[in-house]
Symmetry: C2
Amino acid sequence: MQIGELARSTGVKIETIRYYEREQLLPVPQRTDGNYRLYSPRHVEQLRFIRYCRSLDMSLEEVRILIGVLDTPSGSCQTVNALLDEKIVEVDARVNELHKLQDQLRQLRGHCQQPDEVKTCGILMELNRSAGIDKAQI
Amino acid sequence: MQIGELARSTGVKIETIRYYEREQLLPVPQRTDGNYRLYSPRHVEQLRFIRYCRSLDMSLEEVRILIGVLDTPSGSCQTVNALLDEKIVEVDARVNELHKLQDQLRQLRGHCQQPDEVKTCGILMELNRSAGIDKAQI
DNA sequence: GAAAAGCCTGAAGTGGCTTCAGGGTCAAGG
DNA sequence: CCTTGACCCTGAAGCCACTTCAGGCTTTTC
Ligand SMILES: [Zn+2]
Ligand SMILES: [Zn+2]
Ligand SMILES: [Zn+2]
Ligand SMILES: [Zn+2]
């Protein structure tokens, strides 16, 4: 299986696959006489694993760690648990931030119902006012 | 006021301030004889404006647009409204994604209560299983 | 007069890719 | 046999919003 087919069958761009190889996330594949990469089912599996971890918001460094753990099957899975716990805390925090942001954005948007002149626009006035308040708080 | 004081009074790193100047988000300041930058209250205001917009998740390009709008006070504020509406949609979408992610992470974490061997860890088994399912779905 | 604190510049590094420039390889069609 | 087109290769640069680094100048303080 060459790179194009791997790309099609996983939905990962060819350049990304080559990038993962450079980053040592995918094992170096065999080559044909014409220097084309040749992938095995094991590569397909590992690539899917990487993408699934990425979809869970893990960094490539974290994925690298998980792959390392998988390669020592008799070790403990404590690293994995810690990594997930940390990730959960991170995501929760980010969600809280974004909820606040949603409130702020909607409130700000409410300051201008229909477009008016820049100099009297409630949004712009509010943006400047809020920047000033932040100043007072610091 | 020189750069260190501006940095302290706004909580923005010196390097970031210089970066904003290079990116033309802050007007070029005066210089002392010793070539030190000298800032006016107007700079303070604009820097705060930038940071407040950034805290609302706007890109520097969007901030640049807003600053441009502010500089033409007789124009319409339609750009501002459109920008905010788009931002609200973006943030809502991101929040929905993260909520799904929270569910997935917690469910995954539930697959390993106390650390065991890598080869029997429910989390790792689940990670591999889910990556495989994604495969079947594509 | 020397150390410390503050400032300067230009370049490179970060993450996770994407894009680009400039090629080589291989199967099918004329 | 040759050309077209699909496919593949490499190394380098670009993206964003900064941060870090290397190496040096200015000003203040003891
Ligand atoms: Zn308005
Ligand atoms: Zn208000
Ligand atoms: Zn486990
Ligand atoms: Zn499950």
